[in-house]
Symmetry: C2
Subunit: 446 residues, 2 copies
């Protein structure tokens, strides 16, 4: 059997295109509709995806006038989806800057238990002052400090997830002994950002701990991914950039003493699918026609950290822009957008049109065969272990991918046709269950 693709369905209310909510099919309340997400999860499961994914930030994003804002808290929604599905992995974003390790470690362990080992955590440090101001800070912590906190957060969470050995529960009713206290290991962590004394109050979960996912592509982000991540979501506009990123990340993972095969790289793609190329382009055009460009200008000025009113719709970006290391927010997104505009000499209007679909992710507009070809090329030429599928419109865009692209990928032997027996998310991604740091493998083997 050839190497298998890993597919992740990135679900976001009415779709990834910013104008998707304005289409006739779209429900303006989709973002808080459990039914909407249950339907999507079941479609993704029909497409034998490895996992689905919910992004998140602990603040109210855009102005409400522009587009849907707010969302169900992702771990809550994933728990509900766990009961509505059987096989698909459930990955949620949660912030290391605005959670405490004890609470978050417990919530992921609980999701992993109720889902039978299908939990994944997309670890983010959360850029932006608005989030910071919801948690007692005046401004966002510096990028490097956020990552230092994230690393310590992970160390604490891993201690907590390993604080129960797998066989700590004895259940000896006759002797009146329920558990073995020698198999409980309090965290006893005293660090720069956290001090956590005790053991977690949930036993070790089916996966040991959730699949660890990461999506930052800055230097700090890649360093962090090489050390901890088992899957990486990334935005890449060209196969050359994607191959360079892939090779770089695998090399960093090896350098960190890990098996590079134990980190899966999944670029995001926005498939705009038509039965002909012209039909796909027409759908793309319909979406662009629904963009409110004044809003796009505001958001672009915000991303580029330019004063309001700087950008002109039908002009190129200004020649002088701040360097990436002056950006405190989403560094790699900033560079990707600036490079895209420069490389293709896009006007502000054109750039907004391109970003409207996937916020910097690659749009693949075409027939199912063309989309499948691009996927196969990237996958077989060292650019990807799989893809983060970001339909521009939901549910129709996911339906189209599952009904028309998935069968081609299956026919080419790149994707499973059925799930087979129930298994954990980590097994879906071809990764081993992590050993408990308190248990010596030699002792276990005896």
């Amino acid at each position: 059997m050839p190497r298998q693709l890993h597919l992740n369905a990135f679900l976001m209310n009415t779709g990834h295109h910013e104008a998707s909510w304005r289409l006739p099919e779209s429900d303006p309340y989709a973002h808080v509709s459990l039914e909407h997400y249950v339907d999507l999860a079941r479609v993704a499961e029909r497409g034998t995806f490895d996992s689905l994914f919910l992004a998140d930030g602990p603040q109210l994003w855009s102005n409400l006038a522009q587009r849907p804002a707010g969302a169900l808290e992702p771990l809550t929604l994933l728990t509900a989806l766990a009961t509505a599905t059987e096989h698909i992995g459930l990955i949620a974003t949660a912030s290391t800057s605005y959670n405490s390790p004890y609470n978050l470690a417990r919530r992921f362990a609980s999701l992993d238990i109720v889902s039978g080992g299908r939990a994944g955590w997309n670890i983010v440090t959360t850029a932006g002052a608005e989030a910071a101001r919801n948690f007692g800070l005046d401004a966002e912590p510096a990028h490097a400090e956020r990552y230092a906190r994230a690393a310590e957060f992970l160390d604490v969470a891993l201690k907590l997830w390993d604080s129960w050995e797998d066989d700590a529960i004895v259940g000896d009713k006759a002797a009146g002994v329920w558990g073995d206290d020698a198999k409980i290991h309090p965290a006893r962590h005293q660090g720069t950002y956290f001090s956590v004394g005790g053991a977690l109050n949930v036993p070790r979960s089916p996966q040991g701990y959730p699949l660890l996912v990461q999506a930052g592509s800055s230097e700090d982000g890649k360093h962090f991914a090489a050390r901890y991540a088992e899957a990486v979501f990334t935005a890449q506009q060209t196969i050359e950039d994607a191959r360079a990123f892939y090779a770089d990340l695998k090399a960093r993972t090896a350098a960190a003493g890990r098996d590079p095969g134990h980190l899966k790289v999944l670029p995001g793609i926005v498939p705009v699918i038509g039965s002909t190329e012209a039909e796909a382009r027409a759908l793309e055009q319909t979406l662009e026609d629904h963009i409110v460009y004044t809003h796009g200008v505001e958001r672009l000025e915000s991303l580029l950290q330019l004063p309001s009113g700087t950008l002109e719709l039908d002009a190129l970006l200004p020649g002088e822009l701040p360097p990436e290391d002056a950006i405190e927010g989403a560094k790699s997104r900033y560079t990707l957008v600036v490079e895209l505009a420069r490389r293709e000499r896009l006007t502000v209007r054109q750039l907004i049109g391109r970003l409207g679909g996937g916020r910097g992710h690659l749009t693949l507009a075409g027939t199912p065969e063309q989309v499948a070809d691009a996927i196969e090329t990237w996958f077989t030429q060292g650019a990807a272990d799989g893809f983060n599928i970001m339909p521009p419109v939901l549910p129709s865009g996911l339906d189209a991918f599952v009904d028309h692209v998935v069968p081609i990928l299956r026919e080419r032997g790149l994707l499973r046709s059925e799930y087979g027996p129930r298994t954990t998310l980590r097994e879906r991604y071809g990764l081993p269950r992590p050993a408990n740091q308190h248990v010596s493998p030699e002792l276990t083997a005896v």
Copy 2:
């Protein structure tokens, strides 16, 4: 129709009796079994209970040798139960000392949305140094400080839950206007314990916010309840004490400017049910026979804040004990236990036996008629608006209550026979949906 009882099923792994896990029927892994809780929730729904409830504390409780420890994180479990039930309310404990208002407000709003308005929050301040040490503190905050933080936490949470007016979403696709920014009200809170700038990132939920429940019976606790609580769980050993508590709390609620009918008082009872009185006593004896008394002595010494080795199994409590105001932990529980021992001149062994069943809650051992009689008496004589039902063994104790006591209560016209149309938890408790603090009722009526 006579005034209706409110029943809440307090679910705790294999039951409220500390020895329940040792009975043949009990599953040593019940505490992390979704199936176990789904079955219990469905039994409670068959009994047309108003709600079910999960207690919690963010630390690993007892030594594992003694009895089941750890639990699924309650909001995670309630979310899963929301999808497995239709009518029953879903109440979880969460701590104001060890959560941030933004995250917790959002999680409860999300649960309220996915459950169709069935969420309730049992607000606790969390006693004990072990919890404190899991959140960066060396020792627990003082009792009064915990309650001051709790009050500010509530104020912030209420601002966040009201930060979206109910009709903030417009969904005007033609004009490209999704929401009305004038109907979003950032919290802009700057206080002693919290500073929270923005609006919540979830729309206002079906109930506006979760039913607010409280269970502290100290002076600080009652003051807090009178101001915020819509339901109160309490431990009362005698009808006289219960009536005094009930009258006191209703008066305090009126004094706080609220309708005393808008706070429901639910004493906890541990029903030990047999088809004859002798059968009930035999079940009680079986449970006591399974208590490991050395563990009970340790826990009692801890509650009474006595040095290890002070208590003797077959002697009375020492004559001199610290006064309640010297206790930093669960003040009202402390006084209840001491008074119970003194009033009935119980030896330490007898006291442990009595506490083993319900940790200070009233045990009602008898036939279904006897249990129903006691419920009716308390309910009709000013001691209760309903009850927190704490089966000593689960699932059998809840089955027994629903199969044998519930029909009697229905026959007497004290309890609904069916739910009728789907409704919110707050409506089940006979309470109005709270108005949004940013919306003037006069303006709404125009």
